[in-house]
């Protein structure tokens, strides 16, 4: 067959300002996609625009600020329906015959409800509280609460607590780091996440690649993930965390398994995942021991048995059409925590068509799950963590007001460490040293610096959450949980308002 010439033009073009460039070649060294090349014969640096993903690595590191990355002005004729992205996708598939891969979360414009929800504040009838002067509490406990507390009290004033709660996770801020496996990211990233979680008083989730023994010291702040590939799962691993999360699905790719390409499976990763070096690590789409809800219940109980009922077990699902009913089943399958991952949820690699078209917005799923569990009187028997595109403290506050107990952040944590959402995680060449296991590139993440950046983010968001809470006249986060009266919506239709259980602004 004849070779197919590509019709695809570079998405971005590099402009190098000649009067600024001192030919230090830092850009050449920093670009992991070989966009910048030095030609010693003519002492010049050239650009290969077609490889550029606009990750901004060279721009940030150029000491003379000589580089501009611009959107290629040579675009197709404007068309609202046949957008450039659509045309490019078709050409790419016509040239390769393959599923289009992508990284990170759905980037389409129409699915963010957080921005349509606005928060309340106290005026006149009720004083707002100043967090600089009064304590505002955002500590959160995750886990199964009981239906009521039994107190035994006798004449003489002696009281005893008869109720023993199921194991709980204690969070100093209602934010946890979402699952990102060792393999999808490298050990330095895991180190930074684990350390920041431990030092701030929250949790980091291992993802499906096991836990490196050097991180065992953080086990009080680690959530161990068990996913369909069961990579790295053994009794020791299960007991090295504060909680266990069964991953059924993921917002970026509901219904789809995982695929860590063999190139990323280096020695350490292979060891932890208990597979040979260089083999693809394939996570099946379903758990092949969970074909129905009672099977899930068995796995929940098996994990509880294996850890002697000392750790909460979470079940993570992608937000899909029947999330409410599924969540109810998960509570009845004895899970302690439900994790809902919305359509904006990120990934290291997913088929683009799945990422952008499967699953529903987390805001709607959360609202319907919280309501269903309340209607069934079982909301107290489970905690809800939501994830998938949480971008700011405002998103956190809105999520809690809609009914979440806490949120996972993945993308936001990566952005804090350097990620610029170029969406090329699946190449394994992440120029920021995050979504790569290449030993050289991985060095770009210094765990000391990265964990400091993560802690700063947690601190900044926590302070903002306190400001918002105080403004609403609340000094404890539990008073916001599911308090949808603190939310108003702008620009939503009746059906959306109904699902969200929120009034329109002005109402």
């Amino acid at each position: 067959m004849k070779r197919i010439k590509t019709y695809l033009q570079p998405e971005y073009v590099i402009e190098r300002l000649k009067d600024r460039c001192n030919k230090c070649k830092i850009c050449v060294r920093e670009c992991t996609y070989n966009v910048h090349i030095y030609n010693p014969k003519r002492d010049e640096i050239l650009s290969r625009d077609e490889y550029c993903v606009n990750c901004q690595r060279c721009v940030v590191f150029c000491p003379t600020k000589a580089i501009r990355v611009r959107k290629n002005p040579n675009t197709y004729r404007e068309n609202y329906h046949w957008t450039e992205e659509v045309i490019r996708s078709i050409k790419q598939q016509a040239e390769t015959g393959r599923i289009l891969l992508t990284g990170m979360g759905c980037d389409k414009p129409h699915l963010t409800y957080w921005d349509r929800l606005l928060l309340n504040a106290s005026q006149v009838t009720n004083p707002s509280i100043d967090p600089l002067r009064e304590p505002i509490e955002i500590r959160t406990y995750l886990g199964k609460k009981s239906e009521h507390v039994n107190i035994n009290y006798k004449d003489g004033g002696d009281i005893s607590l008869e109720t023993e709660l199921a194991p709980q996770l204690r969070l100093e801020t209602p934010i946890l780091f979402a699952a990102m496996s060792f393999g999808a990211v490298n050990l330095n990233v895991h180190r930074a996440l684990a350390r920041a979680a431990a030092e701030y008083g929250t949790y980091f989730n291992t993802g499906e690649g096991g836990l490196h023994p050097s991180l065992y010291k953080y086990s009080d702040h680690i959530i161990i993930q068990v996913a369909s590939g069961r990579f790295g799962v053994n009794a020791e691993y299960l007991n090295k965390g504060a909680a266990i999360e069964i991953k059924i699905g993921q917002g970026a790719k509901p219904g789809i398994g995982g695929h860590l390409p063999g190139e990323k499976v280096r020695e350490e990763i292979a060891k932890l995942r208990m597979i040979p070096v260089g083999t693809d690590a394939l996570s099946p789409a379903p758990h092949h021991d969970i074909y129905s809800i009672e099977d899930l219940k068995q796995l929940v109980h098996a994990l509880k048995e294996a850890t002697d009922y000392t750790k909460p077990v979470a079940v993570k699902i992608a937000a899909v059409h029947n999330s409410a009913a599924i969540a109810s089943g998960i509570v009845r399958a004895d899970a302690d925590i439900i994790v809902l991952d919305g359509v904006r949820g990120s990934t290291g690699a997913a088929p683009k068509v799945i990422r952008d078209n499967v699953g529903i917005p987390i805001e709607l799923a959360l609202a319907s799950v919280d309501k269903r569990l309340r209607d069934e009187g079982i909301r107290n028997e489970v905690s809800i963590i939501v994830s998938g595109g949480i971008r700011s403290s405002a998103d956190v506050v809105k999520a809690i007001a809609l009914g979440a107990d806490a949120v996972y952040i993945g993308t936001a944590a990566l952005v804090a460490m350097g990620c610029t959402l170029c969406q090329r995680c699946y190449t394994g060449r992440c120029p920021w040293g995050i979504a790569t296991t290449d030993p050289e590139i991985s060095k770009r993440i210094d765990p000391d610096v990265a964990s400091a950046r993560l802690k700063n983010l947690l601190q900044a968001w926590s302070m903002e959450i306190k400001e918002i809470l105080g403004g609403m006249g609340m000094n404890a986060i539990e008073s916001l949980r599911g308090n949808r009266l603190q939310l108003r919506a702008v620009g939503l239709n009746d059906a959306e308002l109904k699902v969200l259980g929120v009034k329109a602004a002005g109402e």
């Binding site: 009838t125 009720n126 107190i151 539990e478 603190q486």
Partner: protein, 377 residues
């Protein structure tokens, strides 16, 4: 099903918002007296009310029907009275029925009757059973019969309330003709509700009466939590959620009142962290399980039930509540001035601290309940 909130909250706001004056007095020896002093004290605090609601609850006022439930009922429609009486006769034994004695006419006053009733089958061993029957009847009338509203349903006690200034309401109900050992009073300054007689405080169910000053920022959360336990918050008021929360905690979950107060206004986590291990587990567990009942935002409340008057303010004390003692009388009031106006010299007067529950209890009442845990703040 009738939607009471349409009457109490006609603009469909998130909830009914009001502010107010509170006053309560109990004679710890149980001696009965007419509410002259409380009426005067309420008058002193007229700055705090706007004439759109006031009410009184008196305990020990019906000694002749001590063992019967006294139902005070408002009728706003033509056939409401007939339907209610038919319902009461069918479900309860009515010992006495009469129109509420009233003084000079007031504008928009509904027809008010009182009924002394007993359950048809009385289970001597289980008073809870009788209570539950009465609660069920109250809920059915209030939610089911258009134009009828039972606003008082305890034994040997009664609530008198309506739209007007406290002194007008007292005069309307001829309160000087009653004698009780405890009175709690409320004057309202509603911000979003036109006067509706049923919307005035105190709110009552069975033995419990609550008069409340405040606005709960946590209302939505509190309401969600209570709805999970079968309560329907038809009145859409903060006071209603406080009353239901106490009912759930104290009556249904058997939590001592002192600890129940520590659920509504819990210690801060750093206080809990520094407790000894047994206490820490207790308070942490209560906060974890009942976090949805934390009453956040400003409030002070006076709660009454037979033989007991309780005062509680929110944990950072955003609304006033003063306590005072003179001889056998324990006072609770929004303002010290109001207490001084009826008892210029006092043995002791102090402000309640945030989250601190004060219980005034008849000396004759024997109780198994622990005293409130003090000294946490």
């Amino acid at each position: 099903m009738r939607d009471l909130s349409r009457i109490s909250n006609p603009y469909r706001d998130d909830k009914v918002i009001d502010s107010c004056s509170l006053f309560g007095v109990i004679d710890l020896e149980g001696r009965r007296f007419p509410p002259k002093a409380p009426i005067k004290a309420m008058d002193i605090m007229s700055e705090r009310v706007n004439g759109l609601g006031a009410g009184f609850a008196g305990y020990g006022i019906y000694p002749e029907y001590r063992d019967a439930y006294a139902l005070h009922v408002m009728f706003m429609g033509r056939d409401a009275k007939g339907r209610t009486e038919e319902f009461l006769k069918k479900n309860l034994r009515v010992l006495m029925a009469e129109e509420m004695p009233t003084g000079k006419e007031m504008r928009d006053a509904p027809l008010i009757w009182r009924y002394f009733v007993e359950p048809k089958i009385v289970n001597d061993k289980c008073s809870e059973d009788s209570d539950n029957q009465i609660v069920e009847c109250v809920m059915k009338v209030n939610n089911g019969i258009e134009g009828a509203y039972i606003f008082s349903s305890g034994k040997d006690m009664g609530v008198f309330k309506g739209v007007g200034y406290p002194s007008e309401i007292a005069e309307y109900f001829c309160l000087d003709e009653y004698e009780g050992y405890m009175w709690i009073c409320h004057g309202r300054f509603p911000t979003n509700t036109p006067g509706w007689w049923g919307g005035a405080h105190p709110f009552n169910i069975l033995d419990w009466s609550v008069a409340h000053n405040g606005e709960l920022s946590s209302y939505g959360t509190n309401r969600n939590f209570l709805e999970m336990y079968g309560y329907r918050c038809t009145m859409q008021t903060d006071t209603e959620v406080i009353a239901y929360a106490l009912d759930l905690l104290v009556r249904r979950h058997k939590i001592p009142i002192g600890l129940a107060a520590k659920i509504l206004a819990p210690p801060f986590w750093n206080e809990i962290d520094s407790m000894d291990s047994k206490e820490r587990t207790l308070y942490a567990t209560l906060r974890q399980v009942y976090g949805g009942l934390l009453m956040n935002g400003p409030f002070s409340i006076i709660i009454a039930r037979s033989g007991e008057m309780m005062g509680l303010a929110d944990r950072i004390k955003l609304r006033p509540l003063t306590a005072a003692i003179k001889d056998n009388l324990l006072y609770l009031s929004s303002e010290e001035a109001a207490v001084r106006s009826v008892s210029p010299s006092l043995d002791r007067v102090w402000n309640l601290r945030g989250g601190e529950l004060l219980i005034g209890r008849l000396r004759s009442v024997k109780t198994l309940e622990i005293p409130p845990v003090v000294g946490l703040h």
